[in-house]
Symmetry: C2
Subunit: 111 residues, 2 copies
């Protein structure tokens, strides 16, 4: 049951998606954000699973919204990033930014 002390890539991009979406951060749009930025399919199941783990670790919190008056308007579960979650995102950025500062250039790179 040893829990990782840093953010994995998937967890990181989910936190970032929640931050970007603000008041519209629930399962489906979060998955869409991920797809848009990573250019590949992301199944809803994996997103919800990661969200659950992140909440367990105290990096996000969730609350059930009111059902909206549209067909299939089941109540949405909205997520927000906690202070600790934001702190870890910043920490991850700090470490990675330092690590790839002097990254060798790509051969065919267009500048």
């Amino acid at each position: 049951m040893t829990e990782r002390s840093y953010l994995g890539e998937f967890e990181l991009v989910i936190l970032l998606a929640v931050l970007r979406l603000g008041g519209e951060a629930y399962g489906v749009p979060i998955a869409r954000e991920l797809e848009a930025h990573r250019g590949r399919d992301v199944s809803l199941g994996s997103v919800y699973a990661a969200l659950e783990r992140l909440e367990l670790k105290g990096l996000i919190r969730s609350s059930l919204g009111d059902p909206t008056p549209e067909r299939g308007g089941k109540a949405k579960r909205y997520f927000v990033v906690t202070a600790e979650g934001l702190r870890q995102v910043h920490e991850t950025r700090r470490v990675l930014t330092k690590l790839w500062r002097n990254l060798p250039a790509l051969k065919g790179e267009r500048t």
Copy 2:
């Protein structure tokens, strides 16, 4: 046995360590690099396991060096990052840099 199409955090920092170490990139120093940058213990076993995965995916290559004339100077396995490996590191940086561009500031942040 389906392989993931993006770099996990651990794999990413290992690639970066190999790049930084240049001609001295073998198991033990790689693990030390990781420890230095993450501020926590990293077991050799996990490093070697990740190196093996990365080589299988074609992101690094390895070659056995000559034994060195010192006590315990067993032949080392040296690693280099392939063109594809470097490409993936750049791609990961590109995506993350974009995603955390408008990151909200931390409360107690010192500017």
